[in-house]
């Protein structure tokens, strides 16, 4: 069944990729806007006089970008471009390609998002399990209300509050950016420290909020598992309380947590985009923000497509690992 399951999941992934590309292609065209003409007109206005040759230029660019061909040909060209991960030039920063600009931003986002997701998921799951353990210290109960309250706050809102408290009021952390303005990016220890210092506040605003969610979900699952017959049976057998806790309760409660992680990735990413904007963190979110400001359609489309595909891949990977965590899934016949 295993190969079947993976094949099906891969099919879903392909559908996601195709949908993302198709939305990307058709939605902007539905609005009847002409990004190239708009950009040229805006530049002509900046220059202070109306260029006489503007129509000829629009024609020339339309030719170049293939915008004068029939829609279905454009669609096919677009699909083949996208399948080779070629997103064309950035409109606002013309000689630079979308790929170049994304290549600079992606490591920042992957670093920030990867670390924070792992941290909040593991801390949250651990905390949630402890919260449901009858033998946990009493003071842990006091953790619940703040976790609940934090969980309801959007990432970026907490980010704003943290910047004000820890960067503006008390000058502990830098307010803005991914590294100091004067620093020269390179593989030195000094630069790594600088980057770390700049990433603490954005990371904190994600981890503090997300941890609460994972802890609450884990606690809920733990409470349900603790009522199961096999746990009562294990108690009746006289197994050690720690063994019951770890091997009977946590082991089972962790499964839905992993499924939830696959589903939550998209939401976490949406939230992280705004955190980057608030902190001016040089990742994909900020790049997207700048692209929106400059009406750079190709860049926006490139980013949205890449991110959706990357997340689809991450979900696919999580699903592929899932049978390893839950041995039952391999035998189940659908």
């Amino acid at each position: 069944m295993r190969a079947d399951y993976l094949a099906k999941r891969f099919g879903v992934f392909l559908v996601i990729v195709w949908l993302a590309a198709t939305l990307n292609f058709f939605l902007p065209r539905l609005s009847g806007m002409d990004p190239v003409r708009q950009k040229l007109l805006a530049q002509a206005q900046l220059g202070g006089y109306v260029q006489t040759g503007i129509e000829a230029m629009v024609k020339e660019y339309d030719q170049r970008f293939g915008l004068n061909r029939p829609l279905w040909r454009q669609y096919l060209t677009y699909l083949s471009d996208v399948s080779r991960l070629n997103f064309n030039y950035s409109i606002a920063n013309y000689p630079r390609t979308v790929n170049e600009m994304m290549a600079e931003a992606i490591p920042w986002t992957v670093g920030l998002l990867g670390t924070t997701t792992l941290l909040s998921f593991s801390i949250g799951t651990f905390l949630g399990a402890l919260l449901a353990w009858p033998r946990a210290p009493r003071w842990m109960r006091w953790l619940m209300p703040p976790l609940w309250a934090l969980h309801a706050i959007p990432f970026f809102l907490l980010g704003l509050i943290l910047v004000y408290l820890l960067a503006f009021r008390i000058n502990v952390f830098p307010m803005f950016g991914g590294y100091s303005p004067g620093a020269f990016p390179g593989l030195t220890l000094e630069f790594a420290g600088d980057v770390l210092k700049h990433s603490i506040l954005p990371a904190m605003s994600i981890v503090l909020v997300a941890t609460g969610g994972w802890a609450l979900a884990m606690r809920g699952m733990m409470v349900t598992t603790q009522g199961e017959d096999y746990v009562i049976f294990a108690e009746a057998k006289g197994l050690k309380s720690l063994t019951i806790f770890l091997r009977y309760c946590v082991r089972n409660a962790i499964l839905p947590q992993t499924t939830a992680l696959a589903l939550a990735l998209g939401q976490i990413l949406s939230g992280a985009v705004l955190v980057e904007v608030i902190f001016g963190y040089p990742g994909v979110g900020t790049l997207l923000f700048l692209a929106i400001r400059e009406n750079d359609h190709f860049l926006i489309q490139g980013i949205v497509f890449t991110v959706i595909v990357a997340l689809g891949l991450a979900t696919l990977l999580l699903d592929a690992i899932y049978p390893l965590l839950d041995p039952r899934i391999t035998y189940r016949r659908k």
């Binding site: 939605l27 704003l160 803005f176």
Partner: protein
């Protein structure tokens, strides 16, 4: 009711907000929420209790005028989302078969895609002169995914119950069973789903607005945060500019969150033991 602290906290927070807006609309002149209607960059004073921003808006008036706009986006999108979600969820789970496969497939695939990014593509495509209601409809275009999925799961377990079986055997039609037998039993659950959907819609709309894709002319909470970010109010120490919107947004989210938890407890008595 006395046991359900979450519900009480939620209701208190939200009615406080409604009172603020209601009294505000009587006392405060909301036309001051437009730019250039007050002196710029004044810290809070007797005349301007929340201060004024850089474009000369009275921030108290902005909050009084903007809070209902943001809530309006949330409610329109939330109602549309849960409405569509309920129809799809009921149809999908009650009739099963090919319809179910298609609806469930679409909802499952849609949910793995980061919603904000799809909304960005939609909003960018129709950027010119967005209104508050258009904004709500954009947000609603994805708001039905989650309700569809959760309501479907609830209906699936409900349709195996004895009383549904009896209704079916006594010759009730599908729609009749759905509306007369299942819907009343799911009402508390639908309410919790609705509150949750409203909260998600508000979050999505604020997200779009902070990115600069909102209704530029309207003084919604998200647009206020956009101007805060645009003018770097944080770095310049203009604390009054962002304090008011942040506090109100916090109250909105916390209120809606506690309301959902409270309604969940009513809808799902098993949770009461856990709490």
């Amino acid at each position: 009711m006395r046991r359900n602290i979450s519900l009480v906290i939620g209701i208190v927070l939200l009615s406080g907000l409604v009172l603020f807006v209601g009294i505000g609309h009587i006392v405060v002149d909301t036309s001051k929420a437009r730019a250039l209607s007050a002196p710029a960059m004044k810290p809070p004073s007797l005349q301007y209790p929340f201060g004024t921003d850089r474009q000369g808006r009275d921030l108290l008036a902005v909050m009084v005028a903007g809070t209902p706009l943001t809530l309006r986006i949330g409610f329109i999108a939330g109602f549309l989302g849960v409405g569509i979600g309920a129809i799809l969820g009921f149809v999908s789970a009650y009739y099963r078969g090919k319809v179910d496969t298609v609806i469930r497939g679409i909802a499952d695939i849609g949910l793995t895609v980061p919603g904000l990014l799809v909304l960005i593509i939609i909003a960018v495509s129709i950027k010119e002169g967005l209104t508050v209601d258009q904004m709500a409809i954009i947000v609603a275009s994805l708001a039905w995914l989650n309700p569809t999925r959760t309501i479907r799961a609830q209906v699936l377990s409900l349709r195996e119950r004895g009383y549904v079986e009896v209704a079916r055997l006594s010759g009730m039609s599908g729609p009749e069973i759905i509306f007369k037998e299942m819907m009343p039993n799911l009402l508390p659950y639908l309410a919790a789903t609705l509150v949750n959907a409203v909260s998600n819609a508000i979050l999505a709309s604020i997200g779009l607005e902070v990115l600069g894709l909102g209704p530029i002319e309207s003084p919604t909470l998200g647009m206020t945060l956009y101007w805060v970010n645009y003018n770097a109010a944080l770095i310049n120490g203009w604390w009054w500019w962002w304090t008011a919107p942040i506090v109100i947004i916090l109250i909105v989210f916390l209120g809606l969150f506690f309301l959902t938890v409270g309604l969940d407890e009513i809808a799902n008595p098993r949770l009461r033991r856990a709490g």
